[in-house]
């Protein structure tokens, strides 16, 4: 639980992350994801409730917890006074890692994140994707047991995102535990073993992506242009449908039957699409379509 004055940013949420899994926090802006991450990292004290990391209380064991965590913050806070390599060395020093060992790890991590060529380049001269990769490398410098990633691929192009996903999957394959926040739903679907969807400081649902899709959106989605006839026909058939702007979405387990019905109604004049349901459908159904500032 976290309060800022009258605002309850995180409202009595309850979750448990298992060792070795990738656990995601999804939600619109202002849902309380980042605040939750900061409480886990022991840098923002909770206003109430209990929160344990590695079985230790976040209020009383801050240093012990922080020494075993790796953190990828939402905002880039690499040290602009240093090169990529020195950033890792300076950061290792904060963990009290001996120099020799730090140098070895820095080299290994630059190689792992495919940044060897940028070793002596100053931070300002790195691209957005490289900075993000370097931040992940930095978060790994203390060989953390738990890696916390707040929007790991925010603002990156598809190539850079795929590379980061690949690296995160290989970290998972090595048995690392990852907790991440994102509002890219494809990212969550690809990476997370389990996730929660948050809104207004509360957890709405929790589960594996595939289960959540089945439960809250069905197997398939039929989309068709919104006309009075279509809506009337759907009412007649007693089907569940959502209005999304000028499109009608039908979540169904019998997509072909529904599609056939709808094609008849609009006499093949409008396009009817059938696609598998995604996490995005679940997300929008649960958190609504109104814009968040």
């Amino acid at each position: 639980m976290k309060r800022f004055g009258d605002l309850v940013a995180v409202d009595r949420i309850d979750f448990r992350v298992r060792e070795g899994e990738v656990f995601g926090f999804l939600g619109p802006n202002g849902a309380g994801k980042t605040t939750t991450m900061k409480m886990i990292q022991c840098i923002s004290p909770k206003s109430g409730g209990t929160l344990e990391v590695f079985g230790m209380d976040v209020d009383t064991h801050r240093r012990q917890i922080k020494s075993r965590l790796g953190v990828v913050p939402q905002e880039n806070n690499l040290d602009p006074d240093f090169s990529a390599y020195r950033n890792l060395l300076v950061y290792a020093r904060y963990f009290g890692i001996p120099k020799r060992e730090a140098e070895q790890r820095a080299k290994d991590l630059l190689a792992f994140m495919q940044l060897e060529e940028k070793r002596d380049v100053l931070i300002d001269n790195l691209s957005g994707g490289m900075k993000r990769r370097l931040i992940i490398a930095r978060a790994l410098v203390n060989e953390p047991e738990l890696l916390i990633l707040d929007e790991p691929t925010i603002g990156l192009d598809p190539q850079a995102r795929h590379l980061i996903w690949e690296k995160l999957r290989s970290l998972r394959a090595e048995g690392n535990t990852l907790v991440l926040t994102t509002h890219y739903l494809d990212e969550a679907e690809r990476l997370c073993d389990r996730l929660v969807i948050m809104d207004h400081g509360k957890i709405l649902v929790e589960g594996a992506p595939a289960d959540l899709i089945r439960e809250h959106a069905g197997v398939d989605v039929v989309e068709v242009e919104r006309t009075e006839k279509v809506v009337a026909r759907l009412e007649e058939l007693g089907l569940n449908y959502d209005l999304a702007g000028d499109v009608v979405q039908v979540f169904t387990e019998r997509p072909n039957d529904v599609a056939r019905e709808l094609l008849e109604v609009c006499r093949h004049e409008a396009a009817v699409t059938v696609r598998p349901a995604t996490l995005e459908d679940v997300f929008l159904r649960l958190t609504g379509r109104s814009l968040r500032e």
Binding site: S44, V90, Y94, G96
Partner: protein, 255 residues
């Protein structure tokens, strides 16, 4: 009260490393400044001034130049530079995600500010020796004392940094506090030329007054009991501002 371990030095080292990376720029002011001031004020303007209390004018202002340089370097390090690291570079945020705590980050910044003051004093000393305006070997004491004085100004600076709404607002303490100190702390003319109330004000509220007084005793190799009072004032103020800065920074950064 404050939670500080040896990890504070990892913060200090970060700034030391950054300082060394740009050492060429950083080493210019302590060499150039005393030369300019000594030539312009000491030997230029100073030719109209025979002596101050029997002391040749360049010799009179030499300890003030060191004091001012220590004040400037420590104060500006822990105002503008620390603010940039805290607010724009998010360096503090990055560090507190590690086992280093916020108290140690702020303490490390202030110790670094003090070190910077000490480095400047050490670099100025050879110039002053060449101009033959300081007594040796007593003037070697300028260097360790610069650390203490630097820590005082770093603490004061960090308090302002903790409460400033923006980097521009740091101009207020710079102009309204530092600049008057530069002029009215017994730097370029003896304090006792000022009206008595202002003398008392300077002794009570302008830390540089005490620093200049100690440094002048050091460079003239002429110590008096008043210097003990100066040192006590500096030590007490240093502790107060050091702790206060950490407390104010906690309030600002832990949300």
């Amino acid at each position: 009260m404050v939670e500080i371990t040896g990890r504070v030095w990892s913060v200090w080292r970060r700034n030391w490393d950054a300082f060394l990376r740009t050492y060429r720029v950083n080493f210019i002011p302590p060499f150039v400044e005393p030369v300019l001031y000594l030539l312009a004020l000491g030997f230029g303007l100073g030719t109209y001034i025979e002596a101050v209390d029997g002391i040749p004018y360049p010799v009179f202002i030499a300890p003030a130049l060191v004091s001012i340089s220590v004040m400037y370097s420590a104060f500006f390090e822990c105002t503008y530079s620390s603010f940039v690291r805290m607010y724009y570079q998010k360096t503090f945020d990055a560090i507190i995600a590690t086992p280093v705590g916020i108290d140690e980050v702020i303490a490390g910044e202030m110790l670094w500010g003090a070190t910077r003051g000490m480095i400047y004093a050490a670099l100025m000393l050879p110039v002053l020796i060449i101009f033959n305006v300081v007594a040796m070997p007593s003037s070697l004491l300028l260097i360790p004392f610069a650390f203490l004085a630097g820590l005082l100004f770093a603490g004061i600076a960090m308090c302002f940094t903790a409460i400033t709404p923006s980097i521009d607002a740091l101009n207020y303490p710079s102009f309204l506090f530092i600049t008057p100190m530069f002029l009215f702390s017994g730097t370029f003319f003896p304090l006792d030329l000022l009206p008595e109330p202002i003398q008392y004000f300077a002794l009570a509220a302008l830390p540089l007054t005490h620093v200049v007084s100690v440094n002048r005793a050091i460079t003239l190799a002429a110590f008096s009991p008043i210097n003990l009072l100066n040192l006590a004032w500096i030590a007490a103020a240093t502790v107060i501002f050091f702790v206060l800065a950490i407390r104010l920074m906690r309030r600002r950064l832990i949300i």
